[in-house]
């Protein structure tokens, strides 16, 4: 493995670890609060999949939501912090190829997303134990989904010049897309119009495919979801690599 890439990846992981309270524990607590409130309110009223209690249904959705949000938060906040404090210069002065830069930031995002997701899952077991029929599907969607969000975070972190621009990106794009993706419900419960809209939301496929790994039931064929998510990641990766290669906002 190339040392430059390995070091940059290690630095990103070390950064997460040094502030684990805020990067790992805080998002786990947030997800658990959602779980506590929603399951308490809805457990008796809603059953989405036959034979699956609502709390168990909710857990994979919350896990995947945490995976995706934290993957995005990791690369985007690391980059904007480095840009604003100026220490991005240490990486830019080094002989690191743009694809090594890409791979290090995206993989670190996957690592943080998966770590938070695993934490949420383990803590959620206290409330309900969802089945886990197809672990490979779970892994595939967790990795591809977080890689997509990690790459999106790289672009957002490079584009944003201030923290509030990044917060805007998070609040107006990432949050709506995650909340409207079927974390808390099946899209079959939506009116036709919103069902149609949801099908243009890549997050919907990530959540639906991920949940299939647990229950073997999904709104859409997991193969189709996998193709959509893989396609989104590939397109995002090509775009991100082009941005990095051009030196946009990093090399004047």
């Amino acid at each position: 493995m190339r040392t430059s890439f390995a070091t940059l990846f290690y630095k990103e992981v070390l950064r997460v670890w040094k502030v684990a309270f805020q990067t790992l524990l805080a998002p786990i607590l947030t997800a658990l609060l959602y779980l506590l409130i929603f399951s308490h309110v809805l457990e008796q009223h809603v059953q989405v999949f036959p034979g699956v209690p609502y709390t168990a249904f909710l857990i994979p959705g919350l896990v995947m939501m945490s995976v995706l949000q934290n993957a995005f938060a990791n690369s985007s906040s690391s980059l904007i912090q480095s840009k604003i404090t100026g220490n991005i210069v240490f990486v830019l002065l080094a002989p690191i190829a743009y694809w090594e830069f890409f791979a290090a930031y995206v993989l670190a995002s996957v690592a943080r997303g998966v770590a938070v997701g695993a934490g949420v899952y383990l803590a959620a077991l206290y409330f309900a134990v969802p089945s886990m029929l197809h672990p490979l599907w779970i892994a595939a969607f967790a990795v591809l989904g977080s890689a997509f969000l990690g790459a999106l975070g790289v672009v957002a972190g490079i584009w944003a010049e201030k923290f509030d621009q990044l917060a805007g990106f998070q609040n107006f794009i990432i949050m709506p897309l995650t909340f409207l993706s079927g974390v808390f419900y099946s899209i079959h419960s939506l009116p036709d119009f919103w069902q149609g809209i949801s099908r243009f939301n890549p997050f919907f496929y990530m959540i639906d495919g991920f949940r299939y790994g647990f229950f073997g039931v999904s709104d859409i064929s997991p193969w189709f979801s996998l193709a959509v998510v893989a396609g989104c990641f590939t397109a995002m990766a090509v775009f991100t690599l082009a941005v990095l290669r051009s030196g946009y906002k990093l090399r004047l």
Binding site: T3, L8, K11, L14
Partner: protein, 302 residues
């Protein structure tokens, strides 16, 4: 052999500002080279182009024969840059920062050299201190250490002693001079002209993105009046000497001399006018004068 730094017809524009205008500059391996100029002259832009932090609009730059754009990996490995801004990563300790920087440059086990660099920069005590807890001067030392962590044959220091105490300045220069003696090329920009005068063997002066002077330190110093004489007199300055007057204080006159023998003529003029010398001292020309002459020229031009 390839030049340590080779800059050919390089131009760079930021919006309406022509930061560099057709700059040509070559630095031989082993030189201690000074890059001087007023604020906004283009010094940092040139360094950013050399290190890949910015890209030239036209022209070519290379480090020891490696083009900084086409062969950026080789050229960056050969270059160690101390940036002007006091930047640091607040997540890490001094040693972690240096190990990471080593790794970025492809060096996995580099602790012996890291220890040596820390020792020379007086950082050993602070090795396990978080960067956030260091004083400004200490952070500056870490920046220097980070630039040297991969033993670059070409070292670029962009105003490394701005806001740094005397002790560090001297320690830093001893270490850099040692590296220079061992064969490292040094490119320095500084506002302390005296520093440049004692350290550099060759100097380029930049003004509004153009090289306005490029010569050895010796030639530059010889190019202005070789020396000056400060005189306290029993009377006024004879009119015949007024063209040589550069400065007048309350009780003394400072005259420019083209050479030491020219002093004889000055004294003869004074004798003739019946004025006696109460006190006299000679002053050597320094880089500051050269700088003001070269860079100060044509201040009014558009």
């Amino acid at each position: 052999m390839a030049f340590a730094v080779d800059v050919r017809r390089v131009s760079k524009r930021f919006g309406s500002l022509q930061a560099l205008d057709n700059v040509d500059l070559r630095i031989e391996a082993g030189e201690f080279f000074g890059l001087l100029g007023p604020n906004g002259a283009g010094k940092t832009t040139l360094i950013n182009l050399l290190s890949g932090l910015a890209r030239p609009d036209s022209g070519e730059l290379s480090i020891l024969g490696h083009d900084v754009v086409a062969q950026y990996r080789e050229s960056r490995r050969l270059l160690g840059v101390v940036p002007q801004e006091l930047v640091f990563d607040p997540f890490f300790t001094v040693r972690e920062s240096l190990r990471l920087q080593s790794g970025y440059f492809g060096l996995r086990r580099n602790d012996a050299w890291i220890d040596e660099v820390m020792h020379h920069l007086d950082l050993t005590d602070k090795a396990d201190t978080n960067m956030r807890r260091l004083s400004g001067g200490m952070k500056r030392r870490v920046l220097v250490a980070q630039a040297l962590v991969h033993k670059p044959p070409v070292i670029v220091l962009d105003e490394p002693t701005a806001g740094v105490d005397v002790e560090l300045r001297q320690g830093l220069w001893r270490f850099i001079q040692r590296l220079n003696r061992e064969g490292h090329t040094v490119l320095l920009t500084t506002h302390y002209l005296q520093e440049a005068e004692t350290l550099c063997n060759r100097v380029a002066m930049l003004k509004r993105g153009k090289v306005v002077a490029l010569d050895t330190m010796k030639n530059l110093l010889n190019s202005v009046a070789a020396c000056r004489v400060k005189l306290r007199l029993s009377g006024g300055l004879p009119a015949a000497l007024s063209p040589q007057l550069v400065e007048q204080t309350d009780d003394a006159f400072i005259l420019a001399l083209s050479s030491y023998p020219a002093l004889e003529a000055v004294l003869a003029q004074l004798r003739e006018a019946g004025i006696s010398v109460l006190e006299m001292s000679l002053q050597q020309a320094d880089l500051e004068e050269v700088f003001l002459q070269v860079v100060g020229q044509g201040k009014g031009e558009p």
